[in-house]
Amino acid sequence: MQIAVTAVMILLAAVAAAAAVRAIAVSRTAEWMEMVAIGATDSCESAGYVGCSVVCSGVENMQQIESLLDVEYDRYETIVVLDARVSSETARVLVDRYDLIRVDAVPSDEFPSARIRTLFRSRSRSLRRLTLVDRAGTSPYDDLDAGASVASYDYILPVGADTYLMPNAIEKAVITIASAVPDDIDLMYSVSDDECYIFRRDTLIAQGGFTRHVLRGIPPHRIRRTMVPIVYRTTSGRRIKFVTRITIFPIIITLLAIETVTAGAHLAAATAATAVLLAANAAYARTALGRYNCFEKSVLCYIGRIFAIFGKRKFTIS
């Protein structure tokens, strides 16, 4: 019994230490964001030709597309991939609103699964940053491949439905990329509540395009992790908030009660203190980094990330 108690105490101490380290990392990230907010006043000018293409799959919401187009950074574009035969209304609205016309779409063999039916670009020069890709919907990964195959810039940010960019997200991502040695970052990984990945296009080609396992082939030293939130999702936040409120807190209280009975009040108190520390940590991260999501989702993401240590990370959109 004594050994078990000691083991649990060591585990709790390790979790608390990890929480402390994370709080420091959050604090440093918040300082970085404040510094960038003050320093990078000319953020709309491209830094070192770093350009970013946002590729969205499964987007039906016009508000989301408008939000994705509302970026000041000059080397930026939004590529919307959809099946015009299925989402004909969205395609028609997009073509009308943004004055899109059909252009040549010569398929390249860089992304083998990128089969494009039609490609649309805007006739208006001010809307050159929008591209519409029409393809038969097979899988979101193939949609992303199709988007990446027509992307003009070297970094690709894949997004799914109900995903919005945080304020100045592209500028922050570009600053992170441009402040490193050129061509040194293959993948930028935003470890926020709504995690996202910004891939280098050549890396994607080398990996054979988007798949669930695209992250496996990228060497860790070429991945830049950041806690700066790049995107936020709206619908998932509300859903998780409801689910967690109903389930998580009663489960925690039940577990603590069981622990009190089996292992004693002291250990249960230590566990409760650790849980409070984790919750405080999540609340601090949410305030300091300006998350748009609910507190419960922050906690859940945090727990999810702890479990992700034990398995290979898989790439999913939304």
Binding site: G48, R102, E110, D183
Partner: protein
Amino acid sequence: MSIYILLALAAAVLLLRATWRRPGLERRRDTLRRHYVARIISALRDDDTFAAERITAHTRRRRMALAEALHTVACHTCGTDMRLLRIIARLNSIDRFLMRGAALATGYRRARYLILLGSVPPTAAQARRLGRYLRNRNPFVRIYALTAMLAANPATAIRTIGEYPYTLSPFDITQITAMIRRGLLPIAFDPMLSDDNPNIRRLGLAIVRSFGIDTARKQIVRMAELDEDPAVAVEALHTLAALGHAIPTERLRGRIAAFDAQRRKALSRFFAAQGYSIHTVEALFDATECECARQLIDSYKKSIVCRSPSLP
């Protein structure tokens, strides 16, 4: 176990306190900053030295807000007479406050003080003391220490950049170019393009690109063709393309062939995105590298000539 519980709870309380206080602190700081920005703009509009002299900040928080307000005004009003801003900074000892802040802070917080120092330039003697930050581990501290030193002593800007011990990243160059655009540094691109230091040559190219200086074309072509540093040559090619100049394909093809495949491909896509014809791209790159560029060019060209909207 009791000690552990107490420590964990204390840490949680500290985090929760920081969480609750943060929005209020940010709100108060924004309010103060806006207040100072309004007063500074008002003094600048009327060119009123008396009004500028009445802008005071005596506490640490107010000085920081005033420094941020001065920085905001300096950044967003190109070509402003800096005289009034300097009067406000001198009367409130902002430069000394920022120097002390930079010395006591670490990491990105130090970088933040140094950014503000760039807009409230310290004296030459104070700026020399910033030299120790040029070897800091944090790249943001290094570049903002450099920009503060440049702002303090613009006459020796090229020498100061020449003594910078690291390679300037694209972001660093953007920051220095932003200072030039604000009129804090001279636009002396000509000697920069022929300097021995690759950092200075790259900065010279950034100036040419940023200000669209057409007269530098011959020099840029020479750099793209002959510069010993491949990074500078690539930058020169980017500059040529960004300015939309005619590309002497015969002269540059050999140089481009010496770059690695990844760089060549990125360049071909950049040329395509800048609006060059497929003939120019084909004259510079191999057929395999042209494929992606051709796809981009074809789709862009069609959008110029085609006039009929269509849906499947």
